[in-house]
């Protein structure tokens, strides 16, 4: 365990569910580079899930491709989780830094990301009647990721079981609040921009007249 490379650490944490993250915490390991790669793979996976599945599984092709929803569904969601978790857990005596939370969470979503790519291959091999196999893989990956995320939060902040639960629920609430504030802020900025542009056009008209 001492001489693990960063990649081996990833494999170790993902496969050793109860205490993989704990071990990584004590060895002070975890790579930011690998986390970024996972996040980018997550982003492309979300797009592939909608766009690149075999034709027998894509019932409805959308006419326009808009990248914003995909960014929202993957990167923004993940960043909101990280920031939300950090802001909650600093108040709840958590020991994790924002960098560590980012790394641990990225490692935790690894099974989910891998599941998308496995299903992507299967979607070209299977037919609709065999969709249940793809569902099985999807459910396995998702549940695995959820459990990993739980143990990641537990390990990175060195929490008890009960406290982890509260932290996760508070994080989800925090994310909601963040999104609401974000939308409010965007609406406000829009209003201000409209106001400024109106004043500008008004001045231009006055000057010309």
């Amino acid at each position: 365990m001492k001489n693990f490379t960063q990649f081996q650490w990833l494999k170790y944490t993902v496969t050793n569910i109860p205490d993989g993250f704990d071990d990584m915490y004590w060895k002070k390991s975890g790579s930011l580079k690998i986390s970024f790669i996972i996040l980018i793979m997550f982003f492309f996976g979300i797009i592939a899930k909608d766009r690149l599945y075999g034709f027998q599984f894509s019932a409805d092709y959308e006419r326009t491709f808009n990248i914003i929803p995909y960014i929202m569904k993957s990167i923004i969601l993940f960043v909101a989780w990280t920031v939300g978790n950090w802001s909650v857990c600093t108040l709840l005596d958590g020991e994790g830094t924002i960098k560590n939370i980012f790394i641990y969470s990225a490692y935790a979503i690894c099974p989910y990301v891998i599941q998308i790519y496995i299903n992507l291959i299967f979607s070209y091999i299977l037919v609709r009647d065999e969709y249940i196999f793809m569902q099985l893989i999807e459910i396995t990956g998702t549940v695995w990721s959820v459990i990993l995320m739980f143990s990641a939060v537990k390990a990175v902040h060195q929490y008890t079981l009960k406290k982890t639960f509260t932290a996760i629920i508070l994080t989800l609430i925090m994310m909601l609040i963040m999104f609401i504030i974000l939308i409010l802020f965007m609406l406000l900025i829009q209003q201000i921009l409209i106001f400024i542009s109106e004043i500008f056009t008004e001045i231009i008209y006055r000057l010309r007249a």
Partner: protein, 458 residues
């Protein structure tokens, strides 16, 4: 340079012909795309009509409810001469009576059924203007006596039951037995918005009584074909109940198929879109569903399975355009549109392209997929954007066992269900042919892995 210029001009002239009846179609992504015409305007006929409201083809003659002139016109099959004019009818006791704004006409088994709207009655007469029966406002517990009887459209089924659409009734069409007894309502539209239903749980009865009642829209027009009654409803809010196919129990057969009728709203802009206001529906002899949207003047033709075939027609002042299309009727290969604004009949006749499509669709819907193969290929030469042809080709190739081609055309038609079928067969054959190779590859790979693991251990 000069040559090029001439060529360029030719392209412009042939690419954008001046045509009143701009024909278009929808691709599988619901984009409106220009298309070949399935029907063309043959001629426009005037018979001195005044706001005619209904046209009916009995198999031999055309009957037109010439509403403004208070009469019924009978025209011959080629619409050349007026054979007869009905404006006076004689009761069995010798009394004479006249029509007042008749809006509906139906002929069945030597009897003429007239919805005499202005006199709020239905007249059933024989061909010699002698009244057999007269139906007036029914006296029944189900019929609200405060409501007047405004018969607008009428039809009769095989067993002689009479169906009447009354202008102020929202609970479906009224049904009368062959003796003229009122037997009930038939085929009411659904009412209710889901959000309102949920809100009703939280609102007191007192408040509910003050609010506007949620009433379904009345049926606008109907047609009967092979024991099924097709109704159309003018509804700008919902697109669900616009066209219904009702069985004899009054159940809508289309209801669980999530169908769309009429124009699609563009995803890119809202301008130019008008929600459909279907004024009349007609089922042609081979089962195609034709209806006319009086808002845009577009005539839509769908096949038996509700797949779009053609769109034509337009609101315009030019000859061939409509002002207030009120009724549609089909006879043979023609479509007849009655216009109550221009007081004329526009005759659409099938083009060569239309004939080919109809032949192919008829074979396709009877299950002869393989036989349609060449027809579809020919149709695609006329119009390479015709989605139905790709669909048909995919089916034809599937039947012929050419699964690779079937997959290709199913993809072009945007039909993933069909693609799935073709792919399943393609995969089965692929595995059958290559099972040996695949097994060898698996053995080799697993062997290599095993050897490597052994090597690591020792």
């Amino acid at each position: 340079m000069k040559k090029f210029l001439i060529m360029f001009l030719c392209v412009i002239i042939f690419a954008f012909p001046l045509n009143v009846n701009a024909t278009y179609n929808y691709d599988y992504m619901r984009n409106a795309i220009p298309s070949q015409a399935g029907y063309n305007v043959k001629n426009v006929l005037y018979f001195g009509m005044n706001e005619p409201q209904d046209i009916f083809f009995s198999g031999e003659n055309f009957y037109i409810a010439d509403t403004g002139n208070n009469r019924i016109l009978v025209l011959d099959y080629n619409l050349e001469n007026i054979i007869k004019i009905y404006d006076k009818f004689i009761f069995p006791n010798g009394k004479e009576t006249q029509l007042n704004n008749p809006e509906g006409i139906y002929v069945s088994g030597e009897k003429i059924y007239i919805a005499d709207t202005g006199n709020s009655r239905v007249i059933i007469s024989d061909f010699n203007s002698e009244i057999i029966m007269e139906i007036e406002k029914p006296v029944s517990e189900i019929y609200d006596q405060n409501k007047t009887f405004i018969p607008e459209k009428i039809l009769v089924d095989k067993s002689g039951n009479i169906y009447v659409i009354s202008g102020n009734i929202t609970t479906g069409c009224m049904m009368f037995s062959s003796d003229g007894d009122f037997t009930g309502f038939f085929g009411a539209n659904r009412s209710g918005r889901t959000a309102e239903n949920i809100r009703n749980y939280f609102v007191s009865d007192k408040k509910k009584s003050r609010r506007k009642r949620n009433i379904p829209t009345g049926i606008n027009n109907f047609d009967i074909s092979e024991d099924f009654i097709y109704t159309c409803t003018e509804n700008s809010e919902k697109t669900s109940d616009i066209i219904k196919k009702l069985n004899s129990a009054g159940k809508n057969i289309f209801s669980d198929r999530n169908l769309h009728f009429g124009d699609y709203q563009s995803e890119y802009s809202n301008s130019g879109y008008k929600p459909p206001k279907i004024s009349d529906i007609d089922i042609s002899e081979n089962g195609n569903i034709n209806f006319i949207d009086s808002e845009t003047g577009h005539i839509f033709q769908y096949d038996k399975n509700c797949k779009l075939l053609f769109i034509m027609g337009n609101i315009s002042g030019q000859s061939g355009g409509f002002e207030k299309p009120s009724a549609i009727e089909t006879a043979g290969k023609n479509i007849y549109i009655l216009d109550s604004g221009k007081n004329n009949i526009t005759v659409f006749s099938e083009t060569e392209f239309g004939e080919k499509v109809h032949n192919a669709v008829d074979l396709y819907n009877s299950g002869y997929y393989a036989e349609t193969l060449n027809l579809w290929l020919e149709i695609l030469k006329y119009d390479g954007n015709y989605t139905y042809a790709y669909n048909g080709l995919a089916y034809a190739f599937l039947r012929n066992g050419e699964y690779k081609n079937s997959m290709k055309y199913a993809k072009l038609a945007g039909d993933s269900e069909l693609y799935n079928k073709a792919f399943q067969e393609y995969r089965r054959i692929f595995l059958k042919e290559n099972s040996g190779k695949i097994l060898i590859i698996i053995f080799v790979i697993s062997g290599i892995i095993l050897i490597k693991k052994r090597g690591e251990k020792f």
